[in-house]
């Protein structure tokens, strides 16, 4: 589904991504974690072309993200993205936020879009907020709306860029629950997050990045029980004061 091959990216002389190669299979949930500045969000943004890399290639569903022949706008419409700060459109109601792109980009009728939009809002548990403006909702509700907005395009892949790190602790769960359901339903997901509990429960694979490189890629089980790399071990200890011997908290 997603093939990332030898991708390198520089900001001026600073190398933010260093020869990254990963493949993500259809239906898989991949969690990317690592210290801040490790390049995980940058990598995510390369997948839908919001960031340009100078070397390597990324294919989504067989389409080269930076190929000259690729219509990147059309490709993006199949790739949903959820942002750390939600980025709902403040001048539009919740329902309008969800139906805008389906109407304008996919070209479906307003009536169908509304019907689908309401279903999606219901699915993420905020249907009763449909006519309010984003500023009137809590952070957790806004983030669930932004998931619905992305799903309204019926994407083949969903990208999550630290979806819970701007949320108050009591709202994190409601967002993770929606994401968990989504993963269970077979959505292909790439999730940049520090939520190690979520990673352990939901992720198929975990990618650990540091300083623009992939340090290791393991199945969730393996990653937590047998982190082979010293950097991974130290990271895990820091983010979850996790007992490496598996006794847990």
């Amino acid at each position: 589904m997603i093939e990332i091959s030898n991708v390198s990216l520089w900001y001026a002389s600073y190398k933010a991504l260093d020869d990254i190669s990963v493949s993500i299979a259809k239906g898989q949930t991949m969690v990317i974690c690592g210290p801040s500045g490790s390049g995980k969000s940058t990598l995510l943004r390369c997948i839908n072309g919001l960031e340009k890399f100078q070397q390597g290639s990324i294919f989504v569903d067989g389409v080269g993200v930076q190929d000259r022949a690729t219509d990147i706008y059309a490709l993006r419409s199949h790739i949903g993205m959820v942002f750390q700060h939600f980025e709902l459109y403040p001048h539009k109601t919740i329902l309008e936020n969800v139906i805008l792109a389906p109407i304008k980009v996919r070209g479906i009728s307003r009536k169908d879009a509304k019907h689908q939009g309401r279903n999606l809002l219901d699915r993420v548990g905020v249907l009763d907020q449909a006519d309010k403006f984003p500023a009137e909702l809590s952070g957790g509700q806004q983030q669930r709306v932004s998931i619905a907005r992305a799903l309204a395009m019926e994407p083949a892949v969903m990208l999550f860029d630290e979806p819970t790190s701007a949320l108050d602790p009591e709202m994190i769960k409601e967002v993770l629950d929606v994401m968990t359901d989504l993963a269970r339903e077979g959505m292909t997901m790439v999730v940049v997050t520090h939520e190690m509990g979520f990673a352990r429960r939901v992720a198929d694979d975990i990618l650990f990045m540091d300083q623009g490189c992939i340090v290791e890629r393991k199945t969730a089980e393996d990653f937590f029980l047998h982190p082979s790399n010293e950097r991974t071990r130290r990271f895990l200890e820091r983010v979850m004061d996790y007992d490496i011997n598996g006794r847990g908290r």
Binding site: N48, L50, Y73, A74, L75, R76, S77, H78, I79, G80, M81, F83, H85, E87, L88, Y89, P90, H91, L100, A101, K104, V105, R106, F133, A135, S146, R149, A150, M153
Partner: protein
């Protein structure tokens, strides 16, 4: 105080006020159109657009309006060999000058829309034009409107400068009536009242719009 001087000359003064409104209206409309283009130039990544637009804005913001009026009225005919006439000269001067201010209002309004909003729109597959019309401009406009209205009020006040080349707009006519009737106190107080009422209405509208745009985007 003898208010008869005002009532007796009301038609003449009202004619001047109509001309003032005409100048202000044209200056605002044309200035805004030219300002939108300049503002887009200021935001362009194309150097051939960015640098000329920036130089233009910098230049006109660095000189007094009255000088521009003199240039267009007195100097332009030396080059073209033909005078524009007072009215057109004033409208052209205002348009050239005020566009530089409008351009900056428009530039900062568009830049006030966070890049996160742009990314959100792009991520759903929107093309640049859709992004501009549905995401950026509606939000930018909301941020700009109070400043635009404010500046329109300033332009209205500045129209009085047209008197320097003898255009008989409102203030010039007040001045002429005074020359004939010698009732400075009544006339100039009245003129002040007229400007004050009209500009206050504009400012009030601007506050209303500001308030409205804030309630829509509260706690952003």
């Amino acid at each position: 105080m003898d208010l008869n001087v005002i009532t007796e000359n009301m038609a003449y003064l009202a004619g001047g006020l109509a001309l003032t409104f005409q100048i202000a209206g044209l200056a605002i409309a044309c200035g805004l159109c030219w300002g939108i283009l300049l503002g887009m130039g200021r935001l362009s990544k194309n150097r051939l657009l960015y640098y000329p637009a920036s130089a233009y804005v910098q230049f006109f913001r660095g000189i007094p309006l009255i000088l521009v009026i003199f240039w267009i009225y007195f100097l332009l005919p030396l080059i073209t060999g033909d005078s524009l006439g007072e009215f057109l000269a004033v409208v052209v001067s205002f348009t050239l000058y005020e566009a530089s201010y409008f351009a900056e209002i428009i530039r900062s309004g568009i830049q006030s829309v966070p890049t996160g909003q742009v990314n959100a729109g792009l991520a759903t597959g929107m093309r640049p034009r859709q992004l501009a019309f549905y995401i950026i401009l509606p939000q930018a406009l909301r941020n700009m409107v109070p400043s635009l209205v404010n500046h329109a009020v300033v332009i209205f006040q500045d129209t009085s400068l047209a008197y320097v080349i003898g255009l008989r707009e409102f203030l010039r006519r007040v001045n002429l009536v005074d020359a004939r009737e010698a009732r400075s106190v009544e006339l100039y107080l009245f003129a002040g009242l007229v400007y004050f009422v009209i500009c206050s209405l504009g400012t009030l509208a601007s506050h209303k719009l500001e308030h409205r745009s804030q309630t829509c985007r509260s706690n952003l």
